[in-house]
């Protein structure tokens, strides 16, 4: 055996005297390459830069723009999209997509309202019921995707229609009026309350959105579960072999997304005052949240991006809407520019991901 070993490794004798270092390369990196590398490591930098530029441009173009009042309205406008965006972010980080976020939000708000007004449940308990049912709707998405192996796009395309129509059927298209809620179930409108330091109105909903973004940012970055969410989206087979229970992670992610949607539903009651099954969020919530996520630099291929980026993405949309309105252009320009931004964001993502190969 000893002699065998010698013959086997004789070609390695050429190694004697060779450098002990592993190959190192010191290439002159161009500015573009370094920029690409930097963006690769800090994916929320792109939306932050776009946001800064947008703020500067509108600050110059519209004189009223840089007023605390205007900026607080922008935050107020994006509160719901920001919360739905938290849900959409974790889903897209797993390389999935959730088209049912808006439907879950509206249905949950209707369930909270009807539990109080049709069944006489105390408002606080009705909220808990709504949050639980919203979580259950999300968990159902998760089961379809993790257990039945349906593609997320198809599964949630289905549940979106199912939940939205169930919402119309259950509520009999009935809106609960704001004044009735204020009178009998004020807790439902809690997030519509505000503090007014120096006359500037800041909704509780805005604080809630910022708190959720901060919490999710911590969870995704600094806990094992957060790392598992990224690993599941990055390469599910590898994650499974490395010991990540990917099926469980997916169900938890969709269930948590459902919970955030139900929270958004509760916030909607505060923002709009009334409980309306026909709220536009049911139809548009998914597109708005996906837009925030994509502009925020989260890769639709999963495993890349941050929830803080999503927050910047939502802010960009809000700043564009507000800024263009103050400048006085045709509101269609908002959508035109957001469309351009989406394509720009995805193109940047593709470019950044080339670092990997």
């Amino acid at each position: 055996m000893a002699s065998d070993a010698k013959t086997a490794s004789s070609f390695e004798e050429g190694l004697k005297g060779a450098s002990e270092k592993v190959a190192e390369f010191h290439e002159e990196q161009s500015f573009l390459k370094r920029l690409q590398h930097w963006l690769h490591q800090t994916p929320s930098a792109v939306p932050l830069i776009v946001l800064m530029v947008a703020l500067l441009v509108f600050g110059v173009l519209a004189e009223n723009f840089f007023k605390a009042g205007t900026l607080s309205v922008v935050l107020q406008q994006i509160a719901i999209v920001g919360i739905l965006g938290c849900a959409q972010s974790i889903v897209i980080l797993t390389a999935g997509i959730d088209l049912s976020v808006g439907a879950i939000a509206v249905f949950s708000s209707v369930l909270m309202g009807q539990a109080t007004f049709r069944y006489g449940v105390p408002a606080e308990l009705a909220i808990v019921i709504g949050l639980i049912l919203g979580t259950a709707m999300g968990a159902m998405n998760g089961l379809l995707i993790a257990k039945m192996k349906l593609p997320p796009f198809i599964a949630t395309l289905g549940t979106w229609q199912i939940l939205l129509s169930a919402n119309f059927i259950f509520s009999a298209n009935e809106t609960i009026r704001s004044s009735d809620i204020a009178e009998r179930a004020a807790a439902l409108q809690f997030w519509g309350g505000s503090i007014q330091p120096g006359g500037i109105k800041i909704l509780y909903a805005v604080f809630l959105m910022i708190a959720l973004v901060a919490i999710m940012s911590y969870v995704l970055r600094s806990t094992a579960w957060g790392r598992h969410v990224y690993a599941t989206g990055d390469d599910p087979q590898a994650a499974e072999l490395a010991g990540v229970p990917t099926g469980k992670v997916l169900i938890q992610v969709y269930a948590l997304a459902g919970f955030f949607c139900a929270v958004a539903g509760w916030v909607m009651i505060g923002r709009f005052g009334s409980v309306s099954p026909t709220a536009s969020t049911g139809q548009l919530g998914n597109i708005q949240s996906i837009t925030a996520v994509v502009i925020g630099g989260i890769s639709l291929f999963g495993g890349r991006g941050s929830v803080v980026g999503m927050f910047f993405g939502a802010l960009i949309v809000g700043v564009f809407e507000m800024g263009l309105r103050l400048v006085g252009t045709d509101p269609q320009w908002t959508f035109f520019l957001i469309g351009v931004l989406i394509i720009f964001a995805v193109a940047v993502d593709q470019w950044i991901r080339k670092v990997a190969s």
Partner: protein, 258 residues
Amino acid sequence: MEPLLKGTNLVKRYGKVTALDHCDFDLYPGEILAVIGDNGAGKSTLIKAISGAVIPDEGEITLEGKPIRFSNPIEARAAGIETVYQTLAMSPALSIADNMFMGRELRAPGIMGSVFRKLDRPRMEKFAREKLNELGLMTIQNINQAVETLSGGQRQGVAVARAAAFGSKVVILDEPTAALGVKESRRVLELIRDVRARGIPIILISHNMPHVFEVADRIHIHRLGKRLCVIKPGEHSMSDAVAYMTGAKLPEGVAEPV
């Protein structure tokens, strides 16, 4: 001596394809067992059956005499069987430290860890750096760099270091030197010997005959979904082994498989 890990009569079918055909397998304490075989012979399925990635249709596996039945790789790992897959099973966008601790993260001490579930990053990074140093993979400057920014050889090194660091009963290496240069291969072979010196047996799957004949104590030759024979490297030549595994020649005392 009793085998540490023993497979009896293992069968695995994928539809009409039989990947494992009443296959037996033995791993003795403290040895390096090489598994060689032609492409499609069922080596990978055998390894996956042992490491929990595939559940055999029939047959029994015992570890230290106790029957085991893993339904996923996590259970196998919990039992002390650590595997380096050919695909390496790493998340490209995550850091080296994250990858080394994937699925067994360390939590920070005190309330930050128990209530807020905060990861103990400094401890994980220190451990990862030590393990990579042992393997001589020092040109990795930053333990927090994403795995996708590493070269193929470095990635393989990280995967091997991960298995060697955590394997307590058995370490399985599937083609560990396939993507490595001469120097890096040498280090991996040294590492394999180090692991054996700690008393942990190793299963080495490889097509590289010089490496197999150099480090293996015994060689399990796999052919047509089952164990054809087990040979000692000192008693047979490399060309014999290749002839056996390709069916060009039959080892003594083995009948032609039907």
